[in-house]
């Protein structure tokens, strides 16, 4: 069942709509979700598009917990599956996000961040869920968290999110914000031939030789779809390589460490960062999401005024870009971290910085995007 070859198209689309285009391009054929502002357009567009495809399924579930449960079920049945939500729904999904980490089920979860805590500001942007995406579900687990700052990136990063999910058998969280999700821009939808799409590796051995959670160099076991003759047990309990619950210390240790290793050892593959004018920078702005757009303008304006300012845009938030940031901490006098929270990525920057450079934060939590003007002032001060 090869995807139909389609020519490159240009759309004038919302960030949320670009997510759908990206997902379909990446081979997503299953969406289960629950309406919540400001992510709802993703579900709405999926409900139009998926039933019109060869095998696409859209379900509106009774809540966000059920949505992610259905997505996990569908992924186990062999589908590339996703859901989309916003803050309150993301909180509800943490239970199953942990289950997906533990059972190594590939899926993509888009969280369009809005003001919080609690129901907060439903129609305003924020970046308050960054650390929740990393640590929201209980237990010690690795996870991949991506972000996007414009509509084209919404498409590109959704494709990447699926690719990482499939390649590493892990849930991937794509963090957007209300501004990025609700900005309409020109977006180029590449043809399927010019877009790399990865799929999970299925077992090549006979079923009786298949060890569902066997370790390997990559640390990512092959994954058969349910019903294909490879019968095995899936559990959220710590399990042995056969998938059966265990509390034996060595088996538990092996499992938890492999889960970390399979992400850690591919750190450089997972890193997506963009540097701009960093070669001679004395001050660098480290940014992500919609704030990155303001930052691009502020850096441009600072350069015009003669300040040596660079920019590091993070598209991968976790695993955190420690290598790129560390280099800047050695090179720059100061790092500026503007965010729409009280300091969630600056916390990571400070950890990597280890006291070398001066770290300046610029935090807005009033539901408004950090403006280029206020950021420029901070950059000039640094």
């Amino acid at each position: 069942m090869s995807p139909k070859k389609k020519a490159t198209r240009e759309l004038f689309a919302l960030g949320n709509e670009a997510v759908v285009e990206g997902a379909l391009l990446a081979g997503c054929s299953y969406f289960a979700g629950y309406p919540i502002t400001p992510s709802t357009e993703i579900a709405e567009l999926m409900s139009t598009r998926l039933p019109a495809t060869e095998d696409g399924v859209f379900l509106q579930m009774e809540d966000e917990i059920a949505s992610l449960g259905a997505v996990i079920g569908a992924s186990l049945a062999g589908r590339k599956a996703m859901t989309a939500t916003s803050g309150p729904g993301f909180s509800l999904m943490q239970e199953h996000l942990g289950y997906a980490c533990m059972t190594e089920v590939p899926l993509v979860l888009v969280n369009v961040m809005r003001g919080g805590p609690s129901t907060g500001l439903p129609t305003s942007p924020a970046q308050g869920d960054v650390q929740q995406a990393r640590w929201g579900t209980h237990g010690d687990h690795p996870i991949i968290v991506l972000s996007a700052s414009n509509v084209q990136q919404c498409l590109d990063m959704t494709v990447r999110a699926f690719n990482f999910a499939e390649k590493y058998r892990t849930p991937v969280v794509l963090l957007l914000d209300e501004v990025t999700a609700h900005t309409r821009e020109k977006v180029r939808v590449p043809s399927s031939s010019e877009c790399e799409v990865l799929s999970r590796i299925t077992p090549s051995m006979p079923p009786e030789w298949y060890v569902p959670y066997e370790d390997s160099m990559r640390g990512v076991p092959p994954m058969p779809p349910l019903g294909s003759g490879y019968r095995f047990h899936v559990t959220g309990l710590t399990h042995d390589e056969n998938g059966y619950p265990t509390s034996k210390t060595d088996e538990v240790d092996d499992l938890v460490k492999r889960l970390h290793r399979k992400i850690d050892q591919f750190f450089y593959d997972i890193q997506v960062v963009h540097e701009e004018q960093c070669e001679d920078a004395e001050v660098a702005v480290i940014t992500y999401g919609c704030v990155a757009r303001s930052a691009h303008l502020a850096v441009q304006q600072a350069r015009e005024k003669g300040y040596k300012v660079g920019l590091l845009e993070l598209n991968t938030l976790f695993p955190f870009a420690r290598s790129a940031v560390e280099r800047l901490t050695r090179q720059c006098r100061a790092l500026v971290v503007p965010e729409m929270n009280m300091g969630q990525i600056s916390r990571e920057v400070k950890r990597v910085n280890n006291g070398r450079a001066q770290i300046l934060t610029l935090n807005r939590v009033d539901g408004q995007i950090v403006t280029p003007g206020e950021l420029l002032k901070t950059v000039i001060k640094a």
């Binding site: 129609t123 609700h182 309409r184 919609c290 930052a295 403006t371």
Partner: protein
């Protein structure tokens, strides 16, 4: 045919009350400028309960270069289809910015420097459908914006509207465009671009 113009952050706010089709207008104008003209465009809008009932707005930033900050900072062009919207957003206009109003509904303009067209009336009288006000306005905007081409905007209408209401809307577009050409003949030349 107008030749493509170089633009540096041209900021447009389309405003009115809920139900006037301001968001649709924003989408069609944005699509036209982005896809059919090839500009960089970001279009944002008000969401939530605010977008029903009361004031409604859609913002566009148009640029020949990639756009960083997606929201308008200082408006080059304010389109107000209601008195309330005109009052609320007029202060955001640049000193060199232009105001366009629907004179059927906006009777008190804060400045005597404005362009006006009775869009609602045209929609009601000539098209027979008050819901076509937004497309009448689109026709007028296509005339007064020196970088907008009518053929491209018509293609945008085709791309964004269902077939069964397309013909009516093309008629509304043409009505708005022709009336603007008649009433505001020097509109396109009055701009000062930064």
């Amino acid at each position: 045919m107008k030749s493509p113009m170089q633009l540096n952050r041209f900021e447009i706010r389309l405003s009115g009350t809920g139900g006037q089709g301001v968001l649709t207008l924003g989408r069609i104008l944005g699509h036209g400028l982005a896809i059919e003209h090839g500009y960089y465009v970001t279009q944002t809008q008000s969401y939530g309960p605010e977008a029903r009932g009361g004031a409604s707005r859609a913002d566009l930033v148009v640029n020949s270069q990639p756009i960083n900050y997606p929201k308008p900072e200082q408006l080059d062009f304010l389109v107000a289809l209601s008195q309330e919207a005109c009052n609320r957003y007029f202060q955001r206009l640049k000193p060199t910015g232009r105001l366009f109003v629907d004179t059927t509904l906006v009777t008190q303009t804060p400045s005597n420097q404005f362009w006006g067209l009775p869009c609602t009336e045209i929609a009601r009288e000539k098209i027979g459908l008050v819901q076509a006000t937004n497309i009448v306005a689109l026709g007028a905007l296509t005339h007064v914006l020196p970088f907008a081409r009518p053929a491209a905007m018509k293609r945008s209408l085709e791309a964004n509207l269902p077939a069964k209401i397309l013909e009516l809307n093309l008629k509304a577009f043409t009505a708005g465009y022709n009336q603007a050409r008649k009433d505001i003949p020097d509109g396109p030349t009055q701009w000062t671009f930064s």
